[in-house]
């Protein structure tokens, strides 16, 4: 083995407690386990059946996010859960966390939020760690140079009981993005362009490391947007090497090392970056200068194109199953081949999800919508990623900006990203959404999703149809600097 190692290899090597053999996979130690209400109940049941305890409750944290309502609090300060089955599932998480001693950000508490927002927010997500959660967007945490990936509920049980996982070693892929983004083009557009290029299965079996000058110049929250959607390209994990931007973001957060520990930690984190001469199993490059705002037209995140492009024609697709897939997608979306998407009427705009619900996302959306109005007939929802993001946004006056524009300001949660909590599209409705999945029915049965950046979402909300963010931002940007 060459002594040059990638970021992935270094983290992997540090956590292997039993290396892979020809008969058995590796056993990997997990530093942090995030838990939510939807994928954990059966795992706790398994623990009970086997008479096991949670090995390390202090390396485990739970939150409620997927099925929680985002409607306003009642007079008693509580958020009402009207769905009895969801309420029972939430109650089960309360019980499980109490019984097994796991800290929980309960619905209604001031730190509750989307699982992939709260980890970084509390300073729990740190470089060089292994992080898992029963949720595919665990890849988000890779923005800090942590090996973070989604697992199934059986594995949730494994980690609860042993703090370890049985794992086959994945391959590595470098995705290099050099150059500079034009105004109106965001991190979301980078990742949508990447997925459109590699396809939704293109990263399967790989851990992606994002490199290049365009990635380096992104803020931590923008990096999270990128890593978040690694799974939409099929990769279980995405990584970005930690640097000064990373350290500054973590410094001072409640879970971060402090004092002498901090200096030691940073010195260690600096060692993590991929060595000169280390090689990847695959490589992809993109030029940021060439990117335009992106939007999806179909029913998976790989069906994306520049905002001013035209919907592809199934007749141009040679492979039969692929052609049928595209036909089906366009049929579901009610779109005509060869036509532009710009100007397509919309019903709903959703700003939220673990992809784009952090404070910087809300700031940029507020900046773009300030002094404007949501078009008549369009419903715009803004759902902060966590209660702390919500509080911060309110302190900065963002809530007033959104409400003055005619948008709804909601409590924190996954909301219309997954439509488990009553926030959903009606059949046939079109939404421009800052979330990460446009699968059939994802945002409500029969609902039709265009995935895009918060800026594209705002531009579309204002015009009432799919619109180009570059026209809007040019006009509005210089007037406000929070």
């Amino acid at each position: 083995m060459s002594s040059s190692r990638t970021l992935f290899q270094k983290i992997w090597d540090r956590h292997v407690i039993r290396p892979e053999t020809s008969e058995t996979p590796a056993i990997l130690y997990i530093d942090l386990h995030l838990v939510h209400e939807v994928t954990s109940p059966q795992a706790f049941t398994e623990l009970r059946t086997r008479g096991l305890t949670v090995r390390s409750p202090d390396q485990t944290i739970a939150t409620m996010d997927h099925s929680t309502p985002t409607t306003p609090r009642g007079p008693d300060g509580r958020i009402p859960v009207s769905d009895a089955q969801a309420a029972a599932q939430l109650q089960q998480l309360v019980q499980n966390c109490a019984e097994f001693g796991i800290p929980l950000f309960e619905l209604g508490s001031e730190k509750q939020g989307i699982v992939h927002v709260i980890g970084p927010e509390r300073g729990l997500t740190q470089p060089g760690m292994t992080i898992v959660c029963g949720d595919s967007h665990t890849s988000t945490h890779g923005a800090f140079g942590a090996l973070a990936f989604g697992i199934g509920t059986s594995e949730v049980g494994h980690v609860l009981a042993t703090q370890c996982l049985i794992q086959n070693r994945p391959k590595t892929m470098e995705i290099r993005v050099d150059g500079e983004l034009h105004p109106g083009v965001t991190a979301k557009d980078i990742i949508l362009a990447i997925i459109a290029q590699i396809g939704i299965g293109g990263g399967t079996g790989y851990v992606i490391e994002y490199t290049g000058s365009a990635i380096r110049s992104l803020s931590m929250e923008e990096r999270m947007t990128i890593c978040n959607m690694s799974i939409e390209g099929g990769a279980r994990a995405g990584l970005i090497a930690p640097d000064e931007t990373t350290f500054e973001y973590i410094r001072g957060r409640p879970g971060a090392p402090a004092g002498k520990e901090w200096d030691r930690a940073v010195a260690d984190w600096r060692e993590l970056k991929t060595d000169e001469g280390a090689t990847y199993d695959a490589a992809v490059t993109l030029n940021a200068d060439e990117l335009r705002p992106m939007i999806t037209y179909g029913t998976n995140p790989g069906m994306g194109m520049p905002i001013d492009g035209t919907v592809p024609n199934p007749a141009d697709v040679a492979d039969e199953n692929q052609r049928t897939g595209l036909e089906r997608a366009l049929g579901y979306m009610g779109l005509a081949a060869g036509k532009p998407l710009l100007g397509n009427p919309i019903d709903v705009v959703f700003i939220g999800s673990c992809t784009n619900s952090r404070i910087s996302d809300l700031r940029s959306a507020a900046q773009a919508i300030r002094g404007r109005k949501v078009a008549p007939g369009v419903r715009m929802m803004v759902v902060p990623g966590s209660q702390l993001v919500k509080k911060q946004a309110e302190a900065e006056g963002l809530r007033e900006i959104f409400e003055a524009a005619g948008a709804e300001w909601r409590e924190a949660g996954c909301s219309m990203c997954i439509a488990m909590n009553g926030d959903q599209l009606a059949p046939g409705e079109y939404a421009v959404s800052t979330s990460n999945r446009n699968f059939e029915g994802r945002q409500g049965k029969g609902g039709r999703t265009f995935l895009a950046s918060p800026l594209t979402a705002v531009a579309s909300a204002v015009k009432g149809c799919v619109s180009d963010a570059r026209e809007l931002t040019e006009e509005v940007r210089p007037t406000w600097n929070p």
Binding site: T45, S67, L124, G441
Partner: protein, 204 residues
């Protein structure tokens, strides 16, 4: 788990590509706290009308699909969400294997933990089998995990790859959870030299 033995079955033809786990089991069915009963919700949005009646033209509702234990799927089956409810629903319905050219990672992992065999075949084999199944609804395949062999309706047999550890567990009824618990000494040793990186109670 019961050891998996060789079995023969008719095949349900669903060759759509990129079938995501939101289609296999829509999110509104994820509010359950156990694993059972999800078979009825399998492919719910494709399978039922708004009033809950079965859609006559969906493959699972056709009489010839009844009792079939093998699903013939398109490329990149099981992409998207990590929900283990997807294999729970497939197994709950009665499927024991899915044949495709390519499976999404987490889905494949989850399936193997629930006795559902993800069988990867080459695009050529896939295409030929699809053509055969289209014209012969009674065609059967035989799946032999021990030999990693898929016997096709035309009499040919192809080998399919499978993770050796998962195969060992499935053939011998070995419990992966127990296997991991058996590593207690190695885990303790690791923890002795690697203090925890976080203390979650501190931030709650």
């Amino acid at each position: 788990m019961e050891p998996i033995e060789s079995f023969t079955s008719r095949v349900v033809l669903l060759p759509a590509e990129n079938v995501d786990t939101d289609q296999i089991i829509p999110a509104r069915f994820l509010k359950v706290t156990d694993k059972t009963g999800l078979g009825d919700a399998l492919f719910s949005d494709w399978r039922y009308n708004a009033d809950g009646s079965p859609k006559a033209d969906f493959v699972l509702n056709r009489p010839e699909s009844m009792g079939a234990q093998v699903l013939f799927a398109g490329d990149n089956f099981g992409c998207g969400s990590s929900r283990e409810h997807a294999p729970w629903a497939l197994v709950g319905y009665g499927f024991r294997a899915v044949i495709s050219t390519f499976f999404a990672d987490i889905f494949r992992n989850n399936s193997l933990k629930n006795g559902l065999l993800p069988i990867t075949v080459s695009p050529d084999v896939h295409q030929a089998l699809q053509a055969r199944l289209k014209n012969d609804l009674d065609a059967e395949v035989t799946i032999d995990l021990a030999e990693q062999a898929l016997s096709l309706p035309d009499g040919g047999t192809v080998e399919f790859p499978i993770d050796p550890f998962a195969k060992h567990c499935l053939l011998n009824g070995v419990d992966q959870f127990a296997f991991l618990l058996g590593e207690e000494d190695a885990i303790r040793e690791y923890e002795e030299t690697h203090p925890p990186r976080v203390q979650t109670s501190k931030v709650a």
